[in-house]
């Protein structure tokens, strides 16, 4: 049986029926990782012993008749999410040997639901980047074309899902870091509403924008994973108290007559040809599903990248001040304390992280705070208001995830601004804190996946997932998987 071709929900049926054990499934995925990951490089750390132990425990519970939502399912975790006793590097030299003494809330919840962990996936260092090339260890390769990037920063998780090196994964999204790699790798990725999922144990990048979410083969799997990881957490006061609806049950709800807004700003120039055609076709599918398509305007959308590249680096410069060679991570000795800080941080951080710390420090420094940080935060209000206004008129907003399909490794890495500009369609969603789902809507002539982005208002996950699920069925692309 080619278990890697099945969704989590399908695997669960086999596990529940006793037709396969979690141990066998886990061995199967570990074997695939051993055989194929040398090509893909999705994982930074693989934990075979731990995985098989967890699988054995899951099998015992399955035999007892337990039916926890993810019992025995082998998953991968992005390596900026803390796992008790398992190295968590953030793909940075500064945390190369960091072994967290506790689990992130999401990890604890996945464990409680019976999941098995295969290992930790690659990312752009501290989740800063759009291609996973900023990993201090190695770049990850796109399973659809090994010469191309998987996107980023959750490129390891997206590539692992697409290549069948896990049944599903967690990523984190600060400006598109779940959705863009999902789009480049042809899988499903959800950035939940800010506060839907606890950030406790997620290594902080930009605290007002970071959000953990699932990457999976199907929208239903994303719904299942979200159900498990969502909900209030006393360890994260920014985590919202709203109850968690049964996302999985809501997937078939009728959406006929609901309105889909298409921002004219997102369908203009800058969109690659194959991507534009894919989107036009996706809009036809949505119309066939009985939704009303309407053009809308998000007038401040063109300012999102500028606002983001002040706010996110400002928060990052403050969050990353903790890497001082004292509490954890790397220490390089110096002639005094300040010199030790400087040597540690300069040798421990890679160029993109340093660039963002520098932008952020500049934007927050005396005399520039009002001009940059405050200004960007005011523009953030205008962007959020655009969405709030739009969601009074329409139920969903759809558009592209990225202007292009996966680009070649090395193509953009030397030009930071060009790399930032490729986040144009995902970044404003984090600024507004709303829901964004990325799912495959087509393949270009050269065989690369194209993602469709479906947006909903704060806590609009239920409807967004339902639309995604119904679109996915109509588009019929789930069975398409890369040959490796």
């Amino acid at each position: 049986m080619e278990w890697h071709r099945l969704s989590i929900l399908e695997l669960r049926k086999y596990l529940w029926a006793g037709e396969v054990s979690s141990y066998a499934l886990t061995e199967y995925f570990l074997k695939r990782i051993e055989d194929l990951d040398p090509k893909i490089k999705a994982y930074i750390t693989v934990t075979p012993e731990l995985a098989l132990q967890m699988a054995q425990r899951a099998d015992a519970l399955l035999k007892e008749g337990k039916r926890y939502p993810l019992l025995g399912i082998p998953l991968a975790i992005k390596d900026n999410i803390c796992t008790d006793g398992v190295r968590t590097t953030c793909a940075s030299k500064i945390l190369e040997d960091f072994v967290p003494p506790y689990d992130a809330t999401v990890v604890e919840r996945l464990k409680g639901a019976g999941a098995v962990f295969l290992g930790k996936t690659n990312l752009d260092e501290f989740a800063m980047g759009s291609s996973t090339e900023n990993s201090a260890f190695f770049p990850t390769h796109n399973p659809w074309d090994l010469e191309r990037v998987p996107g980023g920063s959750s490129g390891g998780s997206a590539a692992a899902v697409a290549a069948g090196l896990c049944a599903g994964a967690l990523g984190s999204d600060t400006g598109g870091s779940i959705r863009q790699p999902a789009s480049f790798c042809g899988c499903v990725g959800l950035k939940p509403t800010y506060g839907r999922v606890s950030r406790y144990g997620l290594v902080a990048f930009a605290s007002s924008l970071d959000q953990i979410g699932p990457l999976s083969k199907t929208v239903a799997d994303a719904a299942l994973l979200l159900e498990v990881i969502s909900g209030a957490d006393p360890q994260d006061s920014t985590c919202a108290p709203q109850p968690v609806p049964p996302y999985l049950e809501g997937l078939e709800k009728s959406l006929k007559g609901l309105k889909v807004g298409v921002p004219k700003e997102n369908m203009g120039e800058g969109l690659a040809d194959g991507v534009r055609e894919a989107l036009e076709n996706a809009l036809k599918i949505l119309a066939d599903l009985g939704l009303e398509i309407k053009e809308i305007s998000l007038p401040h959308a063109p300012y999102a990248i500028a606002a983001y590249y002040i706010i996110a680096p400002a928060e990052a410069s403050s969050n990353l001040a903790r890497y001082d060679g004292v509490k954890y991570g790397l220490r390089i000795e110096g002639k005094d304390l300040i010199d030790m800080y400087k040597k540690t941080r300069s040798q421990g951080f890679g160029p993109e992280v340093k660039r963002r710390i520098m932008i952020g420090t500049y934007a927050l420094s005396s005399g520039y705070y009002e001009a940059y940080y405050k200004k960007a935060s005011q523009v953030r209000t205008l962007i959020a208001e655009d969405y709030a206004r739009a969601f009074k008129e329409v139920d969903f907003i759809v558009g592209p995830v990225a202007p292009t399909t996966a680009f070649k490794i090395g193509e953009r890495i030397t030009d930071p601004l060009q790399m930032y500009l490729s986040d144009i369609y995902t970044i404003s969603i984090n600024l507004a804190g709303i829901v964004g789902l990325s799912l495959p809507c087509a393949f270009t002539d050269d065989g690369l996946p194209v993602g469709l982005q479906i947006l909903g208002p704060h806590f609009g996950e239920e409807k967004v997932l339902a639309l995604g699920h119904q679109f996915e069925k109509a588009a019929g692309l789930t069975s398409k998987q890369p040959e490796l």
């Binding site: 003494p101 941080r345 520098m358 205008l382």
Partner: protein, 95 residues
């Protein structure tokens, strides 16, 4: 140029980073390019706009002040590059 080499050196010090001469030149050029781009925010009149620092309107999230178990000291210190008797060890600060 929206940022000078001297400013970059000053910001590097504030951020506790150091760079080679070559890196400083590259960073000065790259930061200038990024800041030039960011200056497009000034096209917008925001005099009447309240800033957003947080996407949700959650304020004053309180909980009972109860004593709960916490990480034991040795576990909390296990990742420290240097530790002694339950403390972090740092280079001498007072001269």
């Amino acid at each position: 140029m929206s940022i000078t080499k001297e400013e970059v050196l000053h910001v590097a010090h504030l951020a506790r980073l150091e760079f080679s001469e070559e890196e400083i030149d590259l960073f000065t050029a790259q930061l200038a390019q990024i800041l030039d781009y960011v200056n497009k925010l000034n096209e917008l009149d925001t005099r009447e706009v309240e800033p957003t620092y947080h996407a949700l309107n959650l304020t004053n999230v309180f909980r009972e002040d109860q004593v709960k178990p916490s990480l034991p000291t040795d576990k909390a210190l296990q990742n420290a590059p240097e530790r002694e008797n339950g403390f972090f060890v740092v280079p001498k600060v007072i001269k």
